[in-house]
């Protein structure tokens, strides 16, 4: 951002000219308030020192999905074995660049969404519309921490997005041939992109919470129905897909005004669905993005409204076959459709209902609001009469299954490698169980179909075979509650830091699960039972709500929605992930009284060393998931990915065996303390649910843990390892600093092991450890990675 000195001439005030010494060019927030802190609105290099600290301990590890680079026409270049391309970049730096570009893409998706929404909301509500996120004084923690300003109105976010866009442009520039050559600096840039992403997300969600009256830090936000089985398809079904609720709110307003919620089944898919239920709890949720193609193929939707992000690119090819008109409402997705913005609603309805046009662009949301309900009511009888669906009937099904030659081409085509061939064989023999199982593991991508030499519409076969299961897909989601409020932090902060709450596990992101959606439910349940705070959002939040206990209750019904141990919080759509990272900032501000304004490094340092929070993106596949994860990492929050994760090309892995990497300062005096590897990694993946559970527990360790906290965390780490991996973990002793860290129930047994297996000295009378631990517990230890934060020290 640049400072612009200027003269203003103000309309209707002709002879007045006011000279202002210093006006920040891209907004006015700074006229009210000077940005505060050490690094307000930091440029790329301003937080680089922090990044280098992080990257020194958590080394970037690269796993190329391709050994070549094809960025420019100097190449493409073979970089196998860390060779250099024509521009001189080597494999390592290119992979770092590649991961950064994808991080940037995710950040652009969120902040592009935010900008679009902000433009729309300023137009509707005015720039002066106040921010209201609930009972919080720290309304925009990320904005305060990164920008050093405290926004009060939605208009105050304009310069924030200006900053985001400037940074994204600078970063995108560095992906050009012949720019950055260093892997580590591409990582620093990726971390910058990730941070900026969280800022963009925060803006996006805060403005919609404020203007669209979404739940504001509401622990008991209402429950919404979720699942392919909950939709009343006897009514006209209006399906909204995407992430940007702007246009859909006009539909909901129109439906309210015209009393249409009884007459039309309004359903959403993906994050738009979350936000629809946050605006109006009469809306229903079909499910996560992996249901998208499946649900379209069912033929049930009579009209589809799309906005942006995670919307299938083959929409028109699919819907036109099924005579489902599509209204595109955002210029990010236009599908080559005619722009009907200026046309008469009746004309559009005529052309779409007749099938003359498969869809239309409509940028006038008032029109969308009126047209959608009218059109869906017109379409439903037409479509229902024809009984349009892509699914085969019973006879066809049999025929299709029988026509399979078991060639296996589809299996190789399937990103999950699912045994479609075997399921076909079983189905041909009348056994549907394999397909019923496969249905949940199938991420609905449709790739298999392109490789079948018999042209079997495989996904249709799967869905047909799983009809019984699908009818039972009825769950509940607590609608997105938004931020964690300051009062909640005040209450829970102490538990988190003492460790009576063992940690925060954020289960977020996409549904590209390795082994079906049940895993995510199981993980959530296991951690909830152990009193972890489980926070969720996006597609994961939906899938967690899809399973029930024996009493028919979902996790949302069994666990409270407060920021409190053993509670399950759904923050909302993808952009609400900002509230999760923001929560850690709030703990630093409220519980530890840190000055957060423009003070990113100090806050990240605090979070990394004190707050036992870990993210899990088990089914991550989008660039946004990468970006969110990378942003968490810059803030010191570790993230775990599912087994598709290494395809992101880069992880941040610690080396527990390398003692030198685990030196911290004690802020009381600047002395160096060698600590246990906590958190052990910043970005890592795991193969299975059973592997990931103990890992989550382990990643909640922090150097700042006190005895009680460490004991509780260690208990869960050990128990989860024993339960899922069949044994004590090899490294449990590393986290023991004194006998007081040991789980009470097992103390004696563990002391014995420490003596026998690790050669520690034990005073058996006092049940005390005499020798062994790498360091002692020191209740007032103030761990930090940043020398300048130490008393008496200057870096």
């Amino acid at each position: 951002m640049s400072i612009k000195k200027g003269r203003f001439t103000i309309e209707n005030l002709e002879n007045v000219q006011i000279n202002i010494g210093s006006v920040v060019s891209s907004g006015k927030a700074e006229e009210k308030e000077i940005p505060k802190g050490l690094t307000p609105a930091p440029e790329i290099h301003e937080l680089r020192d922090w990044d280098l600290k992080l990257l020194d301990r958590y080394e970037a590890a690269y796993s190329p999905v391709c050994d070549m680079c094809c960025y420019c026409t100097y190449g493409k270049c073979d970089l196998t074995g860390n060779k250099e391309g024509a521009c001189g970049i080597n494999m390592e730096a290119h992979q770092a660049r590649e991961a950064m570009l994808r991080t940037l893409t995710g950040a652009a998706a969120h902040s592009g969404h935010g900008r679009h929404l902000l433009n729309n909301l300023i137009e509707r509500f005015g720039a002066d519309y106040p921010i209201d996120v609930g009972p919080s004084d720290i309304k925009a923690p990320l904005t305060q921490t990164i920008m050093g300003i405290k926004p009060e109105t939605i208009g105050d976010f304009v310069p924030v997005l200006d900053y985001v866009e400037e940074q994204l442009t600078q970063l995108l520039a560095t992906t050009h041939m012949g720019q950055e050559g260093s892997a580590i600096d591409f990582e620093s840039k990726a971390l910058h992109a990730g941070m900026v992403d969280h800022l963009g997300m925060e803006v996006s969600d805060i403005i919609q919470i404020s203007c669209l009256d979404m739940p504001k830090s509401q622990e008991d936000a209402p429950l919404a129905d979720v699942g392919m089985g909950i939709i009343d398809s006897t009514k006209p079904v209006l399906l909204c897909i995407g992430h940007n609720v702007a246009a859909v709110t006009y539909i909901m307003d129109y439906m309210e005004e015209h009393d249409l919620f009884d007459k039309i089944e309004l359903v959403g898919l993906c994050c738009t669905a979350h936000d629809m239920t946050r605006v109006n709890d009469k809306a229903k949720i079909v499910g996560s993005v992996s249901k998208q193609l499946k649900y379209i193929r069912s033929g049930i939707p009579d009209l589809i409204i799309v906005d942006e992000q995670c919307v299938r690119a083959d929409m028109m090819r699919e819907t036109s076959k099924l005579h489902i008109p599509v209204i595109a409402t955002n210029d990010k997705i236009m599908y080559g459709l005619p722009d009907r913005t200026k046309d008469d609603i009746d004309d559009i309805i005529r052309d779409l209902s007749s099938g003359d046009q498969p869809g239309a662009l409509l940028f006038d949301y008032e029109k969308v609001g009126e047209l959608a309900p009218k059109l869906v009511m017109k379409m439903a009888p037409i479509r229902k009469e024809k009984g349009i669906t892509a699914l085969p009937d019973d006879d066809e099904f049999k025929k299709l299954a029988s026509s399979c030659t078991m060639c296996g081409a589809c299996v190789i085509g399937c990103p999950q490698g699912l045994d479609i061939d075997k399921a076909m064989e079983a189905a041909a023999g009348g056994d549907l169980t394999l397909f019923e199982e496969l249905h949940d593991k199938c991420v609905g991508c449709g790739r298999c179909e392109f490789d079948c030499p018999k042209s079997i519409p495989i996904l249709n076969v799967i869905e047909k075979a799983a009809q019984k299961v699908i009818r039972e897909e009825k769950g509940k989601v607590r609608t997105g509650r938004g931020q964690v409020g300051d009062p909640e932090i005040r209450e829970e902060g102490v538990n988190l830091v003492l460790g009576t709450t063992p940690g925060i596990v954020a289960i977020v992101g996409c549904p590209n699960y390795p082994d079906g959606s049940r895993d995510i439910y199981d993980i959530a349940e296991e951690m909830l039972k152990r009193s972890y705070i489980v926070v969720t959002s996006g597609c994961s939040a939906m899938d967690i709500g899809m399973y029930k206990d024996d009493d028919g209750k979902t996790l949302y019904e069994r666990y409270g929605g407060r920021f409190l141990k053993g509670n399950l919080l759904n923050t909302g759509s993808c952009v609400s992930n900002a509230h999760i990272s923001a929560t850690t900032i709030k703990v630093a501000a409220i519980f530890a009284r840190r000055d957060i304004n423009g003070n990113f490094e100090e806050i990240a340092d605090y979070v990394m060393n004190r707050i036992g929070a870990v993210g899990l993106a088990w089914g991550a596949y989008s660039q946004k998931a990468l970006s969110i994860g990378t942003g968490c990492n810059r803030l010191g929050i570790p993230v775990v990915l599912g087994p598709h994760g290494p395809k992101y090309r880069r992880a941040y892995l610690g080396k527990p065996y390398d003692k030198d990497k685990w030196n911290l300062f004690d802020a009381r005096n600047g002395s160096v303390v060698n600590v246990e590897p906590a958190p052990e990694h910043m970005l890592i993946s795991a193969e299975t649910k059973a592997e990931v559970l103990p890992m989550l527990a382990k990643l909640c360790f922090r150097p700042g843990d006190n005895n009680l906290g460490r004991m509780i965390k260690l208990t869960h780490y050990i128990e989860l390892s024993e339960k899922y991996l069949g044994a004590l973990p090899d490294d449990w002793h590393v986290y023991v600093r004194s006998e007081a860290d040991l789980p009470l129930a097992k103390r004696e047994e563990l002391l014995k092991k420490l003596e026998e297996e690790h050669g520690w000295k034990i005073d058996w009378d006092k049940k005390k450890i005499l020798e062994g631990p790498a360091r002692k517990v020191d209740v007032s230890f103030q761990p930090t990675n940043v020398l300048r934060l130490c008393k008496g020290a200057s870096e």
């Binding site: 196998t80 074995g81 490698g417 087994p643 992880a651």
Partner: protein, 176 residues
């Protein structure tokens, strides 16, 4: 029908069709060749994924462990391996690969790194990516004796039918 001779080099296409990494891809090898290759390694490491605990496969892991090959149990294979009394160390595969890349890592026994990694029982795409790390950033030899063709290995079987897979493993073990 005459009994077919087991040829593990057939059908050597990436099990995920788009998993074509570039000019350097694994040689599809016969089971005997794989076995001999392993037997020649000075510091081999058998890296077992979750499916390494599957019936049939676990016996092979056991045999290899008994022949003195150290076993890294990744995913959640450690549970089954322990149950079978196999001496193995749990480690996360992603982390393991980054340790392997580190010249200062001393291995599980403190004796130094490994010169040959043997992959068995992994989620296909997961292992493929982590082989890619080894392939591009280390000199460590990578041999896959898993059921599917792994282009990022140096040597791999083609895609095998389950039966042939177990037969191939037996051949490998016989060479050790």
């Amino acid at each position: 029908m005459a009994a077919k001779v087991l040829d593990t080099t057939k059908n050597a296409v990436p099990f995920d069709r788009a998993n074509v990494p570039g000019p350097k891809i694994a040689k599809a090898v016969k089971a005997e060749v794989a076995g001999k290759f392993i037997s020649k390694a000075k510091r081999p490491l058998l890296i077992v994924g979750t499916a390494g605990g599957d019936d049939g496969v676990i016996d092979v892991v056991k045999s290899m462990a008994e022949k003195g090959i150290p076993v890294a149990a990744t995913g959640n294979s450690i549970k089954r391996l322990k149950e079978e009394g196999i001496d193995a160390t749990y480690v996360n595969l992603h982390a393991l690969v980054s340790y392997l890349k580190d010249p200062n890592w001393k291995g599980f026994d403190g004796e130094g790194g490994y010169d040959t990694t043997i992959f068995l029982g992994h989620t296909y795409y997961y292992a493929s990516q982590l082989m890619s790390t080894l392939k591009n950033f280390t000199k460590i030899k990578i041999i896959s004796i898993d059921r599917h063709y792994h282009p990022n290995a140096q040597q791999s079987f083609g895609n095998l039918k389950p039966d042939d897979f177990l037969k191939a493993l037996d051949v490998v073990v016989a060479q050790l």
